[in-house]
Symmetry: C2
Subunit: 309 residues, 2 copies
């Protein structure tokens, strides 16, 4: 008898991570549904993305977080919900949490997380703390509603952090010069977006991740910034010149930046100066992707950087 795979609804399916989640969900054989708002019809790029994902096998459901009936109707068709609703929309997920509670049939909800573990970041510095505190509000609402869940702590997205060798707002590796944070020696964890999506989708029907934080920790990708720079230097066969920036210098530049960059700089400080991704996974809430999915073939930092070489 063929195994029946959980049906998955993805909210935010045309977004940066969303479209990769759709592909991962389809690759794992889940009947996959995409929630799209009526006003998406005016967005050429999103329409083309939806059509492309539909051609790959996804099913489209029109709906909106502001239209409770459409939401409940969509939820009745699926077992699992994954959200990538991000940016200034994070708290909009509270409407989704309410609807999931009302529907009462959802076996697993993965809220929009996919970064640092927000319950470890109560001390985060402003303005980077806002995203953490909002995600915590969503977590607490999920838990109060007794909704089965998994929180994915994805650490550093490769496209955003690794591709630019952790340069602020640079997304391809520089070939001449690089800024290094402190001694560049704090261990970080770099994960390709397609792997974030695949680990997330591997977790949705895994009893071991029920009501847990799943930390994505591909062993070969637990590397300091300097180790990453050295990998790139081997790829291009040359040494980059380096400017070493102290934490004080870094923080003193924050004020001059626009709000979005200020948040990013605050996060960089926690990650690259204070090494706050470098911890041991602790039970009973935490589980480690490398223990749960040791055979999954993730993209190594070296393979990722070679793509640009």
């Amino acid at each position: 008898m063929a195994e029946t795979k959980d049906r998955v609804l993805i909210a935010g399916a045309t977004g940066y991570l969303g479209r990769r989640l759709v592909k991962a969900s389809l690759a794992l054989g889940h009947p996959t549904f995409l929630l799209f708002r009526p006003d998406t019809a005016s967005d050429l790029a999103r329409c083309q993305m939806l059509m492309e994902l539909k051609m790959e096998g996804a099913q489209l459901l029109q709906g909106s977080l502001d239209d409770r009936d459409s939401l409940i109707s969509a939820l009745k068709q699926v077992d699992v919900v994954v959200s990538t609703i991000a940016g200034d929309q994070i708290l909009q997920q509270l409407k989704l949490v309410e609807a999931i509670k009302e529907a009462g049939t959802i076996k697993r909800y993965l809220p929009s997380e996919f970064g640092m573990d927000v319950d470890r970041m109560h001390h985060a510095m402003p303005p980077g703390d806002k995203v953490f505190s909002e995600k915590r509000i969503v977590r607490r609402a999920i838990e109060e509603a007794s909704i089965p869940h998994t929180y994915i702590s994805a650490n550093c997205f490769a496209g955003i952090f690794l591709a630019g060798l952790a340069q602020l707002a640079i997304f391809m590796p520089p070939r001449d010069h690089v800024n290094v944070y402190g001694g560049g020696d704090k261990r970080c964890i770099w994960v390709a977006e397609e792997d974030v999506a695949m680990y997330a989708m591997l977790s949705v029907d895994d009893p071991r991740t029920l009501n847990k934080v799943l930390y994505l920790r591909p062993p070969a990708n637990i590397l300091s910034q300097m180790e990453v720079i050295e990998i790139w230097e081997r790829v291009v066969g040359r040494k980059l010149s380096k400017t070493f920036i102290s934490e004080d210098e870094w923080l003193s530049q924050m004020d001059k930046m626009p709000p979005f960059e200020q948040s990013a700089m605050a996060h960089f400080c926690h990650i690259y100066y204070r090494g706050e991704l470098d911890f041991e996974v602790e039970g009973p809430r935490g589980v480690d992707s490398s223990e749960l999915y040791p055979h999954y073939k993730y993209v190594t930092a070296q393979e990722y950087l070679k793509r640009f070489g």
Copy 2:
């Protein structure tokens, strides 16, 4: 002896049509080079697109229209140049024309055209005439410099015109209601973007298209708006309600719209009210894709709309 395919440089490779041109060029076996500006490194989506195209086999060349040396250096590595530099950047191509003239080795240049045949649109109404007159300026510069060229007249991009059943700024087919222009009976030509790209790349080393206008005219896609609506009605198995809008009504609404929509509305008027895509291809300058490439399997309007069904 293996045939050596012309080497192709694409300017605007991460854009809407550009990325499809890269895929078509690679599919046809052309060594394919992408010109990207240094500041692209700050654009996450473009960086990821470049990396994806590179993984498919394209080669990246850093350069800029404002950096003559980088441009000449890129041109020395290729035989053919295809540009999709659009919007308010069309006249920037004059720098490319100058560089191609200076390099003196380019066997074919396809400037950014891919719409209506601009030399048939001297009478176009404002503000939609601006794009036509700018493209004409580029044409005349190419001809004055005696640069071998092909102009691709692609008619109506499917994603922009067909996907929304020719509704202004709607890019997926409506399921309830549709506006019809006049009687909806003027014949238009709808071409899927992937086919625009493939026809363009088929033309780059074709002696029959040298110094010609190549009109893309897939025979099954020469259809009126009403015919297109009827195809969609058959796909979804229901009739849509229709509002028939007269030309006077349409034009009277233009003033209230923002500039971009005003241009689009002017183009709509030429296409859907005045039927200005409905003409016979005339020699000696014009050639017809359906005569040159009769065996190429293009996406029919019906197949395209079924993607949304």
